[in-house]
């Protein structure tokens, strides 16, 4: 692992009087998987959305690949993508059409063969020509993951990427993400409420509570520091202290 591809400094977001994210700073290194953990309302989604340029920070800065997101939005977002269990893609288009539109939006070359690869990798062959409206929630999650990986991002934001997947597919998806990281040095910012997944996937974890970072380190570090049996116990302890 080498230098930081993402640098977040003193990032703050206030909605009126309410502070959703409160002066957080962190780095993500090349090829690193950083877990973002926190109870409901801790500010995870707001942080993601600021990093994707969808919400303007009140103060602080976000740099990726050495560029400031505020002034180099296009260049940064070209190399970034995201997926979430909670997002959707246009229902009236087929899976393949949706991926084609994304490929064109990001100006990819060789879109058709990239789609073929992705469809194979995520085992989507059987339903690639299906209308998106007819997908199960797990299939939809795989589609949004396919759209995120299709653009060959250098940084990937994943909001509960395995929440609606059966254990077999969830396992395969984790393996694919780890393989992408190994092969291309992909950096990932990851949220999940599955503590075991967090422990196995994340190189480092940031624990967010009421918009502030309250713990940071490897899963083992954090567990040891709080004197608990595992990450789930730490989560419960911190969440209940709110």
């Amino acid at each position: 692992m080498s230098s930081a591809v993402v640098e977040v400094r003193n990032l703050t977001k206030r909605f009126g009087e309410f502070t959703a994210v409160d002066g957080i700073s962190f780095d993500i290194r090349r090829g690193e998987i950083l877990g973002l953990l926190g109870p409901n309302g801790a500010g995870k989604t707001t942080t993601f959305q600021m990093m994707l340029g969808l919400v303007t920070p009140t103060s602080g800065s976000i740099h990726m690949f050495g560029l400031d997101l505020q002034t180099h939005r296009g260049a940064i977002l070209q190399q970034v993508n995201f997926s979430s269990t909670y997002i959707s893609m246009p229902y009236s288009l087929t899976v393949e059409e949706n991926l084609t539109v994304i490929g064109r939006l990001y100006g990819l070359s060789d879109i058709a063969s990239r789609i073929d690869d992705m469809v194979k990798k995520l085992e989507m062959e059987e339903w690639r020509h299906k209308l998106t409206r007819k997908l199960s929630s797990g299939q939809m999650t795989r589609l949004t993951l396919a759209k995120a990986l299709l653009t060959e991002p250098k940084v990937l934001f994943l909001d509960e990427p395995t929440a609606s997947l059966d254990p077999d597919i969830a396992h395969k998806i984790r393996a694919i993400l780890l393989e992408e990281r190994r092969a291309s040095g992909l950096s990932i910012l990851y949220t999940s409420h599955n503590m075991r997944e967090m422990e196995t996937m994340s190189d480092r974890i940031i624990f967010l509570q009421r918009g502030k970072i309250v713990a940071e380190g490897t899963a083992q570090d954090i567990v040891a520091r709080f004197g608990q049996a595992d990450l789930e116990e730490v989560f419960l302890k911190l969440a209940r202290e709110q």
């Binding site: 260049a75 970034v80 009236s92 539109v101 064109r104």
Partner: protein, 263 residues
């Protein structure tokens, strides 16, 4: 502005229209019905030819041109609503797509709609009523361009309001344009309006287009002044609403409501 991103959005909408009956109806069925009703009214009025010679020549033309404005506006506003309904705004605006490229794509969609609807209506008017909209001659082109621009202005305005006020404002996508109809003087001259409303109509570019069209058809007057006024007002307003759209976009990003529109 990057061409491939605009093209991506246009292709996304074309995929959508290709297999959607209600969306195709919007282009073929409703304009056709409109034309049939107004066609019969015109045929009826033609029986009073002596008293109202000009009516017959411009009613159907006015209707077709009004539809140009209406579909141009819809092309913009409905394209935005489609993204809200599909919960696709996050996918779009977390990509390198800029708000200007987004608007440009809706404008291209609007041109597609206007072209399709104009062809349907012109052909039907000619087939069923022997009405040739091209008798307006070469002036038809600047008339259409100006009405498309007015449609864009109303469309961008509506889109900004929906983005800012969310679902409650969705109905504006269909209703807003009708607020402009009485002061666009589509079927009657500006002179019939009461004085105060005349002032309001005067600052509406569409009213000058329809005035110009009537002048051309009834007295063969070259509509240079009307078109000049319409174009000037259109460019002024279009600039203003585009600035306002960008401002609203930034306000929504600041409030964190951009990806929550419609929820």
């Amino acid at each position: 502005m990057t061409y491939h991103r605009i093209a991506a959005l246009v292709i996304r909408h074309l995929y959508l229209y290709r297999r959607s009956l209600p969306r195709m109806m919007e282009i073929v069925y409703w304009p056709f019905l409109d034309l049939v009703v107004w066609g019969f009214i015109t045929v009826y009025l033609a029986t009073f030819q002596g008293q109202m010679p000009a009516v017959v020549t411009f009613l159907l033309g006015a209707l077709i041109l009004w539809d140009v404005l209406f579909r141009s506006q819809q092309g913009i506003a409905i394209s935005f609503l489609e993204e809200i309904w599909a919960r696709n705004l996050m996918n779009l605006f977390a990509s390198p797509l800029t708000p200007s490229e987004f608007l440009a794509a809706t404008m291209v969609m609007s041109l597609f709609k206007v072209t399709a609807v104009s062809i349907v209506m012109s052909v039907c008017a000619w087939l069923f009523y022997g009405y040739n909209v091209f008798m307006i001659g070469l002036w038809l082109m600047p008339f259409i361009v100006n009405l498309v621009l007015t449609g864009w202005i109303i469309g961008v305005l509506t889109t900004s309001l929906i983005m800012r006020f969310g679902q409650e404002a969705e109905v504006l996508a269909w209703s807003m344009v009708f607020l402009f109809q009485p002061i666009s003087c589509v079927f009657y001259p500006m002179a019939v309006l009461p004085a105060w409303l005349k002032g309001v109509a005067w600052i509406n570019p569409a009213a000058h287009v329809f005035e110009g069209m009537r002048g051309l058809l009834t007295s063969h007057a070259a509509p240079v002044a009307s078109l000049g006024l319409a174009t000037g007002l259109n460019l002024l307003y279009l600039g203003a609403v585009i600035i306002w759209f960008h401002h609203t976009f930034n306000v929504c990003k600041d409030r964190g409501s951009l990806v929550r529109v419609g929820e």
